[in-house]
């Protein structure tokens, strides 16, 4: 029952998100707004109810499964991908590497700049 309550609540937030996005015409996908609204609710309540915690753990622990049907969609786009495989594969591969390396380095550098006014741990770099 807990799980059912949790999943129902997630769906209600998604539904409210979708409706709000359409009513206001904001350029954000419905589930993302639903996530923000649930986050705000949790902040106000000060704790995550057991039911929501259970449902979200269940969904997020097998997150990669949820991408499988979209991945199989590759077969519907074989022609398109074959036609432009050089820009697609190279842009995708290089851009993913660049993004990952740059973000990791930026996060590392900015963490050292901002988050250590008091040296809580000896980094050995000062």
């Amino acid at each position: 029952m807990q799980f059912l309550n949790g999943i129902t609540l997630l769906l209600v937030y998604q539904l409210v998100g979708e409706i709000t996005v359409r009513l206001l015409g904001v350029p954000i996908p419905g589930p993302v707004l639903g996530m923000v609204m649930l986050f705000v609710t949790l902040m106000i309540r000060g704790k995550a109810p057991e039911s929501v915690d259970q449902a979200s753990t269940a969904l997020l622990s097998h997150l990669s499964l949820l991408f499988v049907p979209a991945g199989v969609g590759m077969m519907a786009h074989f022609g398109r991908i074959a036609d432009e495989w050089v820009p697609i594969t190279l842009a995708l591969l290089l851009s993913t590497i660049i993004t990952m390396v740059a973000t990791a380095l930026i996060m590392q550098v900015t963490t050292r700049w901002f988050a250590k006014p008091v040296s809580e741990k000896e980094g050995g770099d000062e």
Binding site: Q14, M43, S56, L60, S64, Q108, A115
Partner: protein, 245 residues
Amino acid sequence: MNEPGLKDIWVYLSTSPLLGLTITLVAYGLAYRLYLKTNSNPLANPVVTSVAMLIILLLATGTSYSDYFEGGQFVHFLLGPATVALAVPLYQQFSRLRQLWLPVTISLFCGVVIAAGSSIGLARLLGGSLEIQMSLAPKSATAPVAMGISEKIGGLPSLTAVLVVITGITGAVLGTKLFELIRVRDDTAKGIAMGVAAHGIGTARAFQVSSQMGAFSGLAMALSAFATALLVPWLVDLLEAWIPA
């Protein structure tokens, strides 16, 4: 003769969602077992092997993607509530996030702009059509968000969904090696980078390294979904003005 009976069963199965849904779960179950057998080798990523198994099976039986998706859509649909569910890890990591809010905000902003800018720029340099560039632009965001953006900026949402999955796999496979290479050892930095570049598939991988890396990857994925939705349409207009197609 058995033949007509079997044919009737096949006709029933190929038009009912039961088959598509069942083979998705069975393929993923097998792929996940294989992944555990290889000691969680990133190259045996369960998304890669299950997608490969399913495509081979569908091609061999002459089943179309739209017939398969009759069943596959039930799994695909859960991406929506899963996106909402990200609020929970986000909330649980909030105290850590509050300490790091400035570095996280800067990294996310840069990461999202670099992800979209570099994929549009590279695809354009390499001669990709405008449709391909726009389908690639939101590739680092999680599927439902990326598909929505792709539609808005003139890409093909269903192609974007495929590119999103390939991007996630690329990030999950290469991630830990890349971080070793550039000597980033902090789990928060690795998690943020994984979530920004490789969304949910990268997050699934990050959780295997450590729960902290997983939580930060989930957080980055949730926040960058939001940031991508806000920034990418604007970035596309900007690039349009700078580099003529």
